[in-house]
Symmetry: C2
């Protein structure tokens, strides 16, 4: 191969001979030949890769078309994620049993050369765009049994893709679209469920699974190592409940806002807790030299890791969220690009600092929705919403269809019936140990009790989704991990189909109010809840007052200028820190002095935040809330609402647009003309 350098002497017409460089030339020619061959193989492989990726695109297209059909016909028994999984399964079956024979030739891809390399598989990490690292021998390349199907191996992605590309937009969007008003009202309960609940669930599942594994070992059903830490890791992985599927149904049915807030808050924060929990269990693992035994200091270290990583990521996310305080209002494209890049850099920064990017991105999204969003130009508000909505939609459906696919294309599944049964029992117990005792404890402190029907729904609707999948596919090197992965897949499938599909019946069986407008709800039992808020939410109210008086004026253009809120001694500082636009607000704020009264009312605390939420189909749900609070201070609210509109549309507010092309676009949220049009549609 390397030897042949014969060249037909008759065809030298256009060749540049290099006589003085003969030896090198010969080598170069051989290398060139080699290059050409490599290039050919690379091209072929590239072609194959494109075809494989095309499968996924087609899957997504199919899913979208079917979703459209479902929405059009108003089917509700199967959510789009369940649908995506089914399509994924079908394609997986086809790939596994249909097309795998003709693809089995070795000369198709470069990967064949990988098989010829020494014991460990080495990966060149230099030139890659999203720059995640393949964990060489982790996923499928280990056993000799997996090398037989090139095709299947190729459609199996690097698991880091999920963490670095697909999860961040989903989590960010969850944070960005949080209905903050109801979230903050139930903050205490949400935090309790998310933190204590997840830890309880993790340990309950871990212990049950440890029992199960011990039993399996006794019976002789276990084919490899399974340590206690593995059990705990499994507990952490399957404790992450999914914020997508159930909430889409909740959103569509307009269930009780408190239930919605509890479920949403819990499942979003849940994911953050679970990912940090699993990484701190990972930090526990290699405590001694390879001993998977109990070690108190390691436990404390793990706990420290948990706290450190979580709070670090939280701080980072909040910091970057606050930092994206853009003043590029005249150039929506620049603004949107900057917003996008800042969110992404939060993720990368956290990862580079050895923290959890997903957690940072979640809190970054929440912070940006709270502060930065108010600074954006109306056009950019719309653009960012739509952009992240699209990214979320694509990522979500991709993950779920990939899940379906991977059930058949993943080559190292370990399905163990006992383990699977045990895990289903354990997640049931874990969820129960999370919801019921915590609800009992929380109800001791809550005036607005979490009813038993709420508890049953929360119990039932704890599906596992994208995060669980991503965590379990991240590492499938050992027997234990593979068994976990296979079991997790089944758990996700069953919970999404059964719990997702059963949500509507369960809601009606539990007589949960549906069709509730989030603001009508306030007026119905406004008086009772008003009292509740006044008593319960004092730490929150304190924070809110601080936020409204100092943080919002400092970080956004909305709210009163700092000069009005800070004590007189800080006048100079306040002047420097207040944006010119805030002064414009000042006059208006003085016009309706009753504003302050409203602000101190617990119920109306968040009214001036325009909710960013859109449902899974892009039809916006943020109705003009301000106009539907008849119980107290309606007039003030409406006045304020108009102020907001005026503020954003007021030509004196924004710096004069460039002469070339004024942005003709205006956000319908604050569009004075949009109201009649919306009613007309």
């Amino acid at each position: 191969w390397y030897g042949r350098s014969k060249m037909p002497a008759t065809k030298h017409k256009y060749r540049v001979p290099l006589d003085f460089f003969a030896y090198n030339h010969s080598i170069e020619t051989n290398t060139a030949m080699d290059n050409v061959a490599t290039e050919r193989r690379a091209e072929e492989s590239h072609r194959q890769d494109s075809a494989d990726l095309l499968i996924f695109i087609m899957l997504l297209t199919l899913t979208i078309l079917t979703i459209w059909l479902f929405k059009h016909r108003r089917f509700r028994f199967l959510h789009e994620t369940g649908l995506a999984m089914i399509y994924g399964l079908l394609v997986g079956v086809i790939l596994r049993f249909g097309v795998h024979v003709p693809r089995n030739t070795n000369n198709v891809t470069m990967s064949c050369s990988v098989n010829a390399s020494p014991a460990t598989l080495l990966v060149n990490v230099s030139g890659r765009f999203y720059e995640y690292t393949l964990k060489g021998e982790v996923s499928t390349v280990k056993g000799p049994e997996v090398q037989d199907d090139e095709m299947l191996r190729k459609v199996t992605f690097d698991p880091e893709v999920f963490f670095n590309i697909l999860l961040p937009p989903i989590i960010f969007y969850a944070g960005y679209s949080l209905k903050r008003r109801h979230f903050f009202r139930n903050l205490g309960s949400i935090l309790a469920y998310a933190f204590m609940g997840t830890v309880i669930s993790c340990f309950v599942i871990g212990l049950v699974m440890y029992g199960c594994v011990s039993l399996m070992k006794t019976v002789g059903q276990l084919g490899g190592d399974f340590f206690f830490t593995d059990c705990l890791l499994f507990g952490a992985i399957v404790s992450a409940t999914d914020p997508i599927t159930v909430l889409a149904i909740f959103n569509e049915l307009k269930v009780d806002v408190d239930l919605y807030a509890l479920m949403f808050g819990e499942s979003v924060l849940n994911d953050a807790v679970a990912i940090v929990l699993s990484s701190s269990i990972g930090a526990y693992q290699p405590a001694g030299d390879n001993s998977h035994t109990f070690d108190a200091t390691a436990l404390i270290k793990s706990f420290g890791v948990f706290l450190g990583v979580f709070s670090g990521s939280f701080a980072l996310g909040v910091a970057t969220g606050v930092m994206t305080f853009t003043k590029l209002r005249d150039f929506p494209l620049l603004e949107t690009a900057l917003f996008f890049l800042m969110s992404w850099s939060t993720f990368l920064l956290a990862e580079a600092c050895e923290m959890t990017g997903v957690v940072a991105v979640l809190f970054c999204g929440m912070t940006q929705a709270h502060y930065t969003y108010n600074n954006l130009s109306p056009d950019s508000q719309n653009r960012t919403k739509q952009l992240f909505e699209l990214l979320n939609f694509l990522a979500e459906n991709f993950i779920f269809s990939y899940m379906g696919l991977t059930l058949f294309t993943f080559q190292s599944h370990v399905f163990n019936p006992m383990f699977i049964i045990g895990s289903f029992i354990s997640i049931f117990l874990g969820r129960a140990a999370n919801i019921y005792p915590l609800s009992f404890l929380l109800n001791l402190g809550r005036k607005n009790k979490i009813g038993s029907n709420f508890q049953h729904v929360m119990m039932f609707a704890g599906l596992r989704g994208a995060m669980t999948f991503a965590l379990s596919i991240r590492d499938t090197a050992t027997y234990a991990r593979r068994m976990m992965f296979s079991t997790t897949l089944l758990i996700v499938f069953l919970t999404v189909w059964v719990c997702g599909g059963g949500t509507t019946p369960v809601l009606s069986f539990m007589s949960i109010r549906v069709g509730v407008d989030s603001d009508q709800d306030n007026s119905v039992n406004g008086i009772q809840r008003r009292d509740t808020e006044h008593e319960r939410a004092w730490p929150f109210r304190m924070w809110y007052n601080f936020d409204h008086t100092y943080l919002k004026p400092l970080l956004t253009h909305s709210g009163p200028p700092l000069t009005a809120t800070l004590p007189a001694c800080c006048g100079h500082l306040a002047h420097c820190l207040t944006s010119p636009q805030a002064y414009e607000n000042e006059g208006r704020l003085h016009n309706d002095d009753s504003d302050d009264l409203v602000l101190n009312d617990g119920n109306a605390t968040m009214y001036e935040d325009v909710t960013v939420s859109t449902d899974a189909l892009g039809t916006r749900t943020a109705n003009p809330k301000h106009s539907r609070m008849p119980a107290f201070g309606e007039h003030e609210l409406v006045v304020r609402g108009t102020c907001l509109v005026m503020q954003l549309d007021d030509p004196t507010m924004s710096t004069p647009p460039p002469a070339t092309s004024p942005p003709p676009f205006s956000d319908p949220f604050v569009d004075p003309f949009s109201e009649p049009r919306r009613n007309r549609l």
Copy 2:
């Protein structure tokens, strides 16, 4: 390392011993240890990767902020792409000379193991999201001199990233935002410049460079092989002119629409021709076994490849563009997602069929802008525009800042002064041989001559940009390719800075009209040009009539229904193929019968296409054109414009929106209220 499996016997409390599986256990434990070590390294590498990517994000952020400053202050001497390059250069210098010493430890990344692998570098291509293939030994891993700097190698991306991720959105956006009206009016000239011009330029540059290389060889300046095909390849690579920089300036200055159309059309199609040309020269190369000699059959084969690949990609792009005939108007998110996926799948499909994805995507974009865009809901029209605009913006600035970076971080530069000087002379000659003779020939047939000042501007403004860079970085395996790459970098830098920065002075020196509104232009010399159109554009007019009468009604909701345009014998067929919405148009079309007259006028042919264009900063430039054609049929046009508005806003047209949440959004292009508001801003 592998031997130690001692476990402290005192700590077995939580360990699950596996007595019956002892041997396997021991292996598993070692493997687990190994895994942990690998995982650690992978984590470390991942952390490093995140940090590296963060550099680019920060670069982009910096660029955006500076662009904002420039726009704000109205600096025009440096375009944003030039700016991005300068920042890239600065960071490249810092990376090269600033931080490279402390990063030189070998234990940081997994790549160190790559160095220990056998002669050829093998790459596992299995798990990657965008699934492009690293061309093993291509870029930097070959010589022993490059292994010394891990850091620099890591910020050097896989060149396929440019082709598979960064170029497609740029090219697609170019096609999607094409100002079709002026483009089609100059179609013949544009095609001549793009096809014949590029081929001429390629061969002129190739021949000049062959002379230069022969000279270098005689003088002893050549350090490796450089064949004639390499010269031709170089010619193809540097013949691709850039549609970004100059056109942004043109857009801002509002230069003469014909000049704009010529430049834009040429540089967009140019890229497509150059990429296919380079791949067909590549197909020529390995004709005999490794002989880089002249071969007539191989030449014919190359020509066949060129034609086949180009026409295949063209057909594919158009076919997919036509196929995305969406009926999901009620669900903008689904619609946008589908649109995005279809565009992407065009690219992938072309790549999978061994055609050129970039070319397919270009024509897909053009087709979609012409047909599919009219079917989208107003919300989706906005969303797709903004999405692709953002992607284009990010990709563009990324490529240019990467270019700056790579001048210092690429490790195998071959700067040869003679070659560089020769190449500058050759591109000058090549450009001249493209523009002047072709303009002369075209002017023989054109009534509306291409003036000599236009020709000089076209000559001057032929900068090289993203496509040239991507083509040259794609393969840097051989000495010749490396020299080409280094030279190309310099060419891009100089042309972007000198030609980009000098565009404004040159325009004024050549007394090109600026500040021309594309429609006022029509009315100024409307009569003269009207005649021109009538004489010249008959093949185009024929096509237009066919398009308007059959294709548009078939593929979009706009235009008359097929039942009205097809002969009576095809009545049944026409009924099946016409969308229900088209019937609604029918009544309106009959109301203004004079429409047909307007349609037959060459000048107003494209008036019903809403131009998708937005300039580089997202401030839309598509003014309501319809209202500014005073010369002929103004009333009809306005009526038609109102019809369009009514059609899109008419509640009877769209199926009833879902009860949950009607889309409150409406496109300002077709918003009856937007006119006064726009004036107000």
